[in-house]
């Protein structure tokens, strides 16, 4: 297997200020493989942006190390920057310049301007973007489009995108998803942080989940979707006896809700014990559903935090 395109080893960052220390990232050890779309998930304050800023050498680690393309992020930051495209979560550009001027400026910083301008025109057409306006006149969505053009116009080997689709309309999100798939098809790599779990589910190969600066899990999206539990809805002809709640819980069903003719619960393991519990009832319908990535994601944050995290995810 080829060497990982991003590699971190016990990467940590502590912010010091106002008389207290804040550990934003704690011993992150992570590999991202060449040619994959890697989703980096976590609520606000989990450490996603800190990780990205460390990889880009905007901030320096308190301990640990990281490499991109096998190059040390601090010693070889210029070489790394030459080969990556970056879209920050909050894109701030020079307000009094037009988008075309900004595109030219960034292209001139990278050198070899003409191919970049040509690619930027192609991307602008795909994203339906007008580069003649001044930055201050752009909506959030249009700024995101410009950010994507700036990140992609030199056809980087690695794209690092922080919340790339926030502010894009659903149609543009589809276009974005297709662009990312095309990039993967070309053997290039995407590292994206996101709150949009449907987006991650749609395009990512693997995801990492971060919580309070600590890595909770790294799995393929497929594997994560087979998270070992399913949601079950049982519909009966008669009202469900309340005592079934206890019986279902005794066989390991979780989050059991009994309401009128319905029984809803989360099931791990086999289905047979369930049938044995409900054997006296007349079953009208059985609905078994795999959890969404969002539901899987929330299980990493524990039931007690589910509500809060759900708000953050949204």
């Amino acid at each position: 297997m080829a060497a990982p395109i991003i590699q971190t080893h016990q990467l940590s960052k502590t912010y010091t200020g106002a008389g207290r220390d804040l550990k934003a990232l704690d011993n992150l050890t992570l590999d991202v493989q060449t040619g994959e779309i890697f989703g980096y998930l976590g609520p606000n304050g989990a450490g996603k942006t800190t990780t990205i800023r460390l990889l880009l050498d905007l901030i320096r680690p308190t301990q640990g190390r990281a490499a991109v393309f096998g190059l040390d992020i601090q010693k070889h930051s210029v070489e790394i920057h030459r080969r990556i495209g970056f879209l920050p979560g909050e894109l701030n550009l020079w307000k009094n310049r037009t988008a075309a001027q900004v595109i030219y400026y960034i292209a001139s910083l990278r050198g070899d301007i003409k191919p970049q301008l040509k690619e930027s025109q192609k991307l602008a057409e795909e994203l339906k973007f007008d580069a003649s306006k001044k930055i201050r006149d752009f909506s959030t969505g249009n700024k995101r489009k410009l950010g994507l053009i700036l990140a992609m116009m030199h056809r980087p080997e690695l794209l690092i995108l922080d919340e790339p689709t926030s502010g894009l309309d659903p149609l543009m999100q589809q276009t974005f998803n297709q662009m990312m798939r095309d990039i993967r098809a070309e053997g290039r790599t995407v590292f994206l942080s996101s709150h949009q779990l449907t987006e991650v589910q749609a395009i990512c190969d693997r995801v990492a989940i971060l919580r309070d600066g600590q890595l909770q899990a790294v799995q393929s999206v497929d594997h994560m979707m087979k998270a070992g539990f399913r949601y079950v809805d049982l519909q009966f002809r008669e009202a469900v006896p309340p005592m079934w709640q206890e019986r279902l819980e005794s066989i390991g069903a979780q989050d059991v809700v009994i309401a009128d003719h319905m029984a809803h619960f989360k099931l791990r393991g086999d289905f047979d014990p369930v049938l044995r519990v409900v054997t006296n009832g007349y079953l009208v319908n059985i609905d078994v559903r795999d959890p969404s990535l969002e539901e899987v994601f929330l299980t990493f944050y524990g039931a007690a935090e589910s509500t809060t995290q759900k708000e953050a995810v949204r």
Partner: protein, 269 residues
């Protein structure tokens, strides 16, 4: 591409530079044409010299009354002293634009994730502001020359140009000092406060040193930036290598310090 930041900075600031230059040129032009001849200057010297306390005159930058009676001395007092203060304001604004403003606006993130080393960001921006501040000074001198051509007051262009050299270096120094403050302090307001305090304290050290001439307290003026950029002194005594060396050395040191600090710290927190 090497020089891209320099060119982009020039593109962004040329208009405001032009306004500053025209403003100072008009001031210079006005100062020259308002004085009809040497006799008027002598009357002016008599009035000021007899009625104003010496300390007050020194507060306004007049270190020697005799120099006021010469056209060059009067222009140094009436124009160069105040032009220097105005240029200090420009220098502070320019120095803040080197790193602090871009960091505060969030645009530094985009800049530093391009294949550009940090030292080059500081160097090219500093070079652009050094060039533009020099353009402003050149434009202000054009105002003086136009005034000389349209008026009756004769003065030595050469001596005036010599007086402009330490002034230019002082402006470059303040840009570099502001860049250091902007890279060292996380908060823009703190950096601005430190720089303004530096200039105000420097001005008063020079004032105290001049007012207390002949006493031990006069030595405090060696700590003042204004001591080394004193146009009247250049008009009277010519350029001194020591002053130029101190200004140039301090500027280079401060510039190097700003690069060193910016290379080593977290950006955009």
């Amino acid at each position: 591409m090497s020089g891209a930041i320099f060119i982009e900075t020039l593109k962004r600031i040329w208009r405001q530079t032009l306004y500053w230059g025209i403003g100072l040129a008009l001031l210079g032009f006005y100062i020259v044409i308002v004085i009809p001849n040497i006799d008027t200057l002598k009357q002016y010297q008599d009035i000021i010299g007899n009625k104003m306390p010496k300390a007050v005159m020194q507060a306004f930058g007049i270190s020697d009354m005799a120099v006021l009676a010469t056209p060059e001395g009067f222009i140094a007092f009436g124009f160069l002293t105040y032009a220097l203060i105005l240029l200090m304001v420009y220098a502070v604004l320019a120095g803040m634009n080197i790193t602090a403003n871009e960091e505060d606006d969030g645009t530094m993130d985009i800049l530093l994730t391009q294949p550009v080393p940090r030292w080059r960001v500081v160097t090219e921006k500093y070079a652009a502001y050094v060039l533009m501040s020099t353009v402003i000074i050149v434009l202000s001198y054009i105002g003086l020359i136009l005034g000389r051509m349209s008026g009756t007051l004769e003065f030595s262009i050469e001596r005036m140009l010599l007086a402009g050299i330490p002034m230019t270096l002082a402006v470059w120094l303040v840009i570099a000092f502001t860049a250091v403050a902007g890279t060292f302090f996380r908060r823009k307001s703190t950096a601005m406060m430190v720089v303004v305090s530096f200039i105000v304290v420097s001005y008063f050290l020079n004032f105290i040193g001049n007012a207390a001439s002949g006493t031990a307290a006069s030595s405090v003026k060696v700590l003042s930036l204004f001591q080394y950029a004193d146009a009247q002194s250049v008009i009277q005594h010519g350029l001194t290598f020591t002053s130029l060396a101190i200004l140039a050395g301090a500027t280079a040191t401060l510039f190097g310090l700003s690069v060193w600090l910016f290379e080593r710290r977290d950006v955009g927190l």
